[in-house]
Symmetry: C2
Subunit: 384 residues, 2 copies
């Protein structure tokens, strides 16, 4: 179409960083060896794989042998649930992967507040003496709302103490999918206080279907995929060396530039939000005003059909999402927006704008102008 594309959907997918691609490339071609083979070039591949896991572990303040490399966040989440099982507690704004995994077990789904925040007291009220797992994402993928994870973690520690005192030996663990937070928030496991952590490379300019599940030492994992015994028997299958090396590069870059990048995105997002709200005063911004990912802007235009708007914007080169990019969500109202109590008319007019590496002050401002123009055109069309 010759239109310059402005990508505002970094929460759905990110392009591979060129440096990540360069790091991966040798493992597709010259360094293609099976890391379990016995000769020196394969042993070198094994060392490179281990070094990559070391880099990833360091980025979250963990030990490499506490990581299980998996093929995506969804697999990691499923592994966490399958390992811990029992009664599980999660929230109604969680990603489909968490909700679907929870439904395989005895579960309680608690409600978030109207900003998409899950209060610690609400979670803990749902915890029973036989609850084994609490799973709360670090940040919500639709609203960008950041959860009070440290607070929840300290409540879980208290519960553990109470159980110890009461002679209840049922373990209780806190799992978090931090895929949407890495590169913008601190994901150091001790500081977060979690027992299990899922992180995905695909959201941080790394390869898709590449993730890990971290489990604190002492947390017993149970493999879902058995066979050759790779990943300490917890995830069998020939290792995806190229992808894990790419993940290491991606998370290293994300951590190195985190402070700068989150400040940059925060500024850009606030400018965009100000621009849109000033021109379209009936717009509703959702998510927590303060505890929100720097690059996230969830904005609703009551009475407008967001799906129609997405196509109008696309024709002008602006790529945005109506809600979560998950396949299951297609053509249905977002469960997250229902959970935070948005009326149907507001929910159906929602855009999720997520900034990232491809965002510049110029293209973000230009996207703002185009969104305003298309919104006004759409309003005129329907006589709003």
């Amino acid at each position: 179409m010759g239109v310059e594309l402005i990508y505002l959907d970094h929460a759905a997918a990110t392009p591979l960083d060129e440096r990540v691609f360069l790091a991966m490339q040798p493992y597709f071609t010259e360094q293609f060896y099976n890391p379990s083979s016995p000769y020196a070039p394969a042993l070198q591949v094994r060392r490179d794989y281990d070094a990559a896991k070391h880099t990833i572990a360091r980025a979250i303040g963990a030990k490499p042998d506490e990581l299980v490399m998996t093929a995506g966040a969804t697999e990691s989440i499923n592994l966490a649930f399958a390992s811990i099982g029992g009664h599980v507690v999660t929230a109604n704004i969680e990603h489909h992967a968490v909700l679907a995994a929870a439904r395989e077990y005895d579960h309680t789904i608690v409600a978030s507040d109207e900003h998409g925040r899950v209060q610690t007291s609400v979670i803990m009220a749902a915890v029973r003496p036989d609850t084994r797992l609490i799973s709360i994402a670090l940040a919500n993928n639709e609203l960008g709302t950041v959860q009070p994870l440290r607070d929840i973690a300290s409540a879980v520690r208290e519960e553990r103490q109470k159980r110890l005192a009461a002679g209840n030996t049922t373990p209780i663990y806190l799992h978090s999918d931090a895929s949407q937070g890495v590169g913008q928030l601190d994901v150091h496991v001790s500081r977060l206080g979690v027992d299990l952590l899922t992180v995905n490379a695909g959201k941080i300019y790394g390869p898709k279907q590449t993730a890990f599940l971290w489990a604190a030492s002492g947390v017993m994992l149970k493999p879902q995929i058995v066979g050759g015994g790779q990943e300490r028997g917890l995830r069998s299958g020939t290792e995806n060396v190229a992808s894990v090396v790419g993940f290491a590069k991606a998370i290293e870059l994300a951590e190195t530039h985190r402070k700068y990048e989150s400040e940059r995105l925060h500024k850009l997002r606030n400018l965009l939000q100000g621009q849109l709200v000033a021109a379209l005063p009936s717009a509703v911004v959702s998510g927590h005003a303060k505890h929100r990912l720097a690059g996230h802007l969830h904005i609703s235009f009551p009475g407008i059909d967001a799906e129609r708007l997405v196509f109008a914007l696309e024709a002008r080169g602006v790529l945005v999402a109506t809600g979560s990019a998950c396949a299951a969500n297609k053509g249905t109202r977002s469960h997250v927006l229902t959970a935070i109590g948005l009326s149907d008319s507001v929910a159906d007019g929602s855009l999720r704008l997520t900034l990232g590496h491809l965002s510049t002050p110029e293209n973000t401002a230009r996207a703002g102008e185009i969104i305003i123009e298309e919104m006004q055109r759409e309003r005129q069309r329907i006589g709003l």
Copy 2:
């Protein structure tokens, strides 16, 4: 070291074909979109993904919506077992992934003959009225022995008829991991007669951790990894578009060149086998003389320490395996060699030489010379 490398371990890993790499590349960078996103560039990625699945399906004579894309053969095998469950029958020469998956269920492990072939009558003798799954690889990854899969399939069809006549409604299915056969053998599902088929891209010059599980329509699969509902709800997680596009290219190339390549490898392998056996008459060639993968040569030198030999060969640039490249196998005697009744002294002196794209008449002949020299040196050293 400056030594030219001669790779004789194609069964463990294969380098990405340059054409596969070129096909994948755009999906890492410009075409990075999440295929579930609603705008045109993402819809194009979805179409490319679907087209890739179409190509893969065509290569095995199946329909695209009968495929579930997974992150590796091990995952596919686990999905097949988890879906069908019940009493399962497999053989003692199967890959660790199959044996480990079988052990999760009520199982019977039958014995192969001394050539690594599993006789249909032996399998069917183990089938009980409640047997639901038989899993036999198309070709054994260590010996290269090709199984009588069509014959087994027709016995399974007979069993089905018998059950129908007896009013037994328990379904019985035949699953095969054909990862080691693609590119050398016909893997058309109707001609094989299987109900479930696993194929991996990593053994055919495609990307690692990329595979499918095919299931005939009517075979009900049960997801192990739940979430966003991708792959018709049977394997959730954002699709690995680059890898699946690469797999399509790899399997297309494998099928196009299958006849030529398998004849070429067959000739090369026979020359190498002749060269080694002529110079080292005490050598024992294992695997079926006729029903054997074209590129496979499993050869044992009684009394020799194969691990030591692997290092000596590596120092001269020749890369070979002692047995299966699976992690679980490390430092232990191959269960396959025990299964076919090789004595410990023969088994411990075994090399697996597997030819492929990197093999030429020149480097294969040169490898043969080096193996002979190193064997003779080793024999002298230990006074054999």
